[in-house]
């Protein structure tokens, strides 16, 4: 399928953006509707170490323990709709027939049983793993050691043929350059790594995934720049962390949104991936349903936008939790409770016509807590979306525009005294603005410059991107 660029916003203004409804709702799975007037909890999990010992131990962990626990708790707590997300482990992509197939089929079989018995709306997102190594080769026939590029595609097929309702991936294109950018505080390298190279990789990967989904009548969900922007965000961390300036993380997030959008441009319909904190920008541009995570994902990581991230979500997720016992049941049961109750609150707000009030409360609580959260508040997300679509036909220019708009928004709020910044955040923001302004408006010139400047980054091979 060809890439169809977004050159206009699907929403007329930012106020239309609210949780629990999307301009283009999606129906799938066992009675599931995303973005259709209610918020769905999406529970994600990781098996215990050692569960991967053999295909049967892995199947048992995922199906008999994790999935059953989730479904039992969903019925116990009376949740009308639940989505599961299985983020595949390495063994499942490395040997899809042995490790992936029984898990995918087993989870779906059990879900059908509960759906038939209780009428609960259920669906499962399978997020296939992307173990591709740039040093070995990111495209088919390049990696002679592991054949990872071929295995990624096979894994998508196995998931779609055996029970996936939604297919997603956390694709890795450009990571070798974006890691360098984070370690060296180099926003120009980030723009090249994620805005340009990451976008090229998405353009290679996503049309194939969409085709596989269509063939199997599975929803092509979307991607996330977890490998890049979340690395940046996690390292920027909270108020005790001093590794990456939070202004840097904010700008990297907004540049990443232009890259993650490509899944939709290749035909994905949403809901996108929960850990893509670029989700509000994607939703503002595309009108597609969005999965997000925040305060209900403290089992996986701390963040400075726990309330805020709920404000435009259609599915509300816990990110991931290792399966283990807690006082209140297993970990997946406890965290399903956390996100399920929050989803119920949001849906109640919709039912009572108070959804935009709750949205604004979510936003108000965290709006000035961090530059990254500030940039993805729906009004700012909309502004960033606008500059992306104004430059929609060029992956470099739109990424640069997103980064510059983010920096300008933070700078303006800081100058007004609203968004306080520490010294490092301020210095870094100033440098980002100077650096982005110094770049050419001609894509070819930028690429020529970047290929020369970053040629010695370890493991970077332009051939992975057809360059």
């Amino acid at each position: 399928m060809a890439i169809k660029r977004f050159t206009k916003m699907e929403y007329k203004n930012a106020d239309e953006l609210v949780f629990g409804e999307a301009k283009y709702p999606v129906t799938y799975g066992l009675g599931q509707k995303a973005g259709a007037g209610h918020v769905i909890p999406e529970i994600n999990f990781a098996p215990r170490p050692g569960a991967e010992r053999n295909p049967e131990t892995l199947r048992r962990e995922y199906v008999d323990y994790i999935t059953k626990d989730i479904l039992d708790r969903a019925i116990t707590l009376g949740f009308p709709a639940v989505q599961l997300e299985n983020e595949h482990i390495f063994q499942m992509v490395n040997d899809p027939q042995k490790f992936e197939k029984p898990v995918v089929a087993g989870q779906k079989e059990l879900m059908e049983k509960y759906h038939d018995e209780y009428g609960i709306a259920l669906s499962i997102r399978h997020t296939i793993a992307d173990p591709r190594l740039c040093e070995k080769g990111m495209r088919p026939k390049m990696d002679k050691v592991h054949n990872y590029p071929e295995k990624v595609i096979e894994s998508a097929e196995v998931a779609c043929e055996n029970g996936a309702d939604v297919l997603s991936i956390e694709s890795m294109g450009g990571k070798e350059v974006s890691d360098y950018a984070i370690m060296n505080g180099d926003i120009k390298a980030w723009l090249f790594g994620i805005g340009y190279l990451g976008s090229i990789d998405m353009e290679w990967l996503w049309p194939q995934l969409v085709d596989i989904c269509k063939k199997n009548k599975v929803i092509a969900g979307g991607d996330t720049n977890c490998a890049g922007a979340n690395t940046s965000m996690f390292m920027a961390g909270g108020y005790l962390d001093r590794d990456v300036a939070r202004t840097f993380a904010a700008v990297t997030r907004c540049i990443a949104s232009a890259r993650t959008l490509i899944a939709y441009e290749a035909g994905a319909t949403g809901p996108d991936k929960d850990c893509g904190y670029e989700g509000p920008i994607l939703k503002a541009i595309s009108g597609k349903p969005s999965a997000q995570e925040g305060k209900g994902a403290q089992c996986a990581h701390a963040d400075l936008m726990g309330n805020l991230m709920a404000h435009t979500c259609d599915l509300w997720s816990n990110e991931s939790v290792e399966y283990h016992p807690e006082f209140g049941g297993s970990s997946v049961q406890c965290w399903l409770g956390v996100i399920g109750y929050e989803a119920a609150l949001m849906t109640t707000a919709k039912q009572t016509g108070q959804d935009k009030v709750l949205r604004d409360l979510y936003v108000a609580a965290d709006r000035y807590k961090s530059p990254e959260g500030f940039c993805i508040c729906h009004d700012n997300a909309y502004e960033i979306g606008k500059v992306i679509v104004e430059n929609g036909d060029d992956i470099y220019l739109r990424s640069k525009a997103a980064g510059m708009k983010a920096a300008e928004l933070i700078d303006a709020a800081n100058k007004k005294g609203q968004m306080r910044l520490n010294k490092m955040e301020k210095d870094t923001l100033n440098k980002i603005i100077v650096d982005l302004k110094s770049l050419p408006d001609d894509t070819d010139k930028f690429v020529d410059w970047a290929l020369k400047t970053y040629k010695d980054i370890p493991m970077f091979n332009p051939k992975n991107y057809g360059l």
Binding site: A46, P49, M183, G185, D186, T231, L240, R242, D360, A364
Partner: protein
């Protein structure tokens, strides 16, 4: 009140007192000390002006100028001293600035690059190879492509004078064991992001024990935790990259994994390096 998107906000939040909603502890506790003042204080004992300049090149990330300044220092000072009394002193200041939250990770990375360039220039004047403080073999677990933590730790170990054999990422158990047998390192490290890739660590530990190799095996990464790492022999937990040099120093001193575990809280825990 209007948002920049140009629509009326439904909820008037102008009365919100953000001081009772969250506190910017990072800003409230931000030090007023300047890197220049700290460097001056720490480098005060360096009396040779050329060595001091070399140290400052590292502190202030003078990647372009460090080579020439090291050459100038080599005119009067032997290479080993240019490294130890100039470049390493400078990196000590960088470590202090990083520890105090004045420098961030990119400063450390660029300073380490300047130091590395200076060391290469000095080493070219040495008769033999510079003796490393110790040897570390590093890898990322099989099936795991996430290597930024390992890469940061490698830079910090190298800049602290350790020889690093970096096996890269997605490294299988036998390859790690083979290199450890060959290189006989003072310490081995493994990182992993996922619960089902970190399970390679006990396998590596078992294989090393089988071969009679008892070396501290420092394990770290997203899903990795202390109780897991201490559930298998040789395992020593680390939760930050900058703990690597502290643990390596003890391994070189001859501490075995049991002793490091016992003293872990003092070394890198609540009372140790942050």
């Amino acid at each position: 009140m209007r948002f920049v998107g140009g629509y009326e906000r439904m909820l008037d939040t102008s009365s919100v007192n953000y001081d009772v909603i969250f506190r910017r502890y990072d800003i409230e506790t931000e030090t007023k000390e300047k890197p220049e003042a700290i460097a001056e204080k720490m480098l005060g004992s360096v009396s040779d002006a050329r060595l001091k300049k070399v140290a400052e090149d590292v502190v202030f990330m003078n990647y372009k100028g460090v080579e020439a300044d090291v050459r100038a220092a080599l005119e009067k000072t032997k290479p080993e001293d240019v490294i130890e009394k100039g470049l390493v002193k400078g990196m000590d200041v960088v470590g202090e600035l990083y520890g105090r939250g004045i420098y961030y990770l990119p400063h450390v990375m660029v300073a380490a690059q300047a130091m590395d360039k200076g060391i290469k220039t000095a080493e070219a004047k040495m008769k033999g190879e510079r003796e490393a403080r110790g040897t570390v073999v590093m890898h990322v677990a099989e099936g795991d492509p996430h290597d930024i933590g390992k890469n940061i730790a490698a830079v910090l170990l190298r800049s602290n004078g350790y020889a690093v054999f970096d096996l890269g990422r997605d490294v299988n158990v036998e390859d790690v064991v083979k290199v450890v047998e060959e290189k006989k390192p003072d310490m081995v490290t493994g990182t992993a992001l996922m619960t089902t890739t970190m399970s390679a660590f006990p396998k590596i530990a078992d294989r090393l024990i089988e071969k009679g190799i008892e070396v501290p095996f420092v394990c770290a990464g997203g899903a990795v935790n202390r109780s897991y790492v201490e559930s298998y022999p040789l395992g020593v937990y680390a939760d930050k990259a900058n703990q690597g040099p502290v643990l390596a120093a003890k391994a070189v001193e001859g501490w075995d994994y049991k002793k490091i575990r016992t003293k872990w809280d003092d070394l890198v825990g609540a009372h140790g390096a942050k």
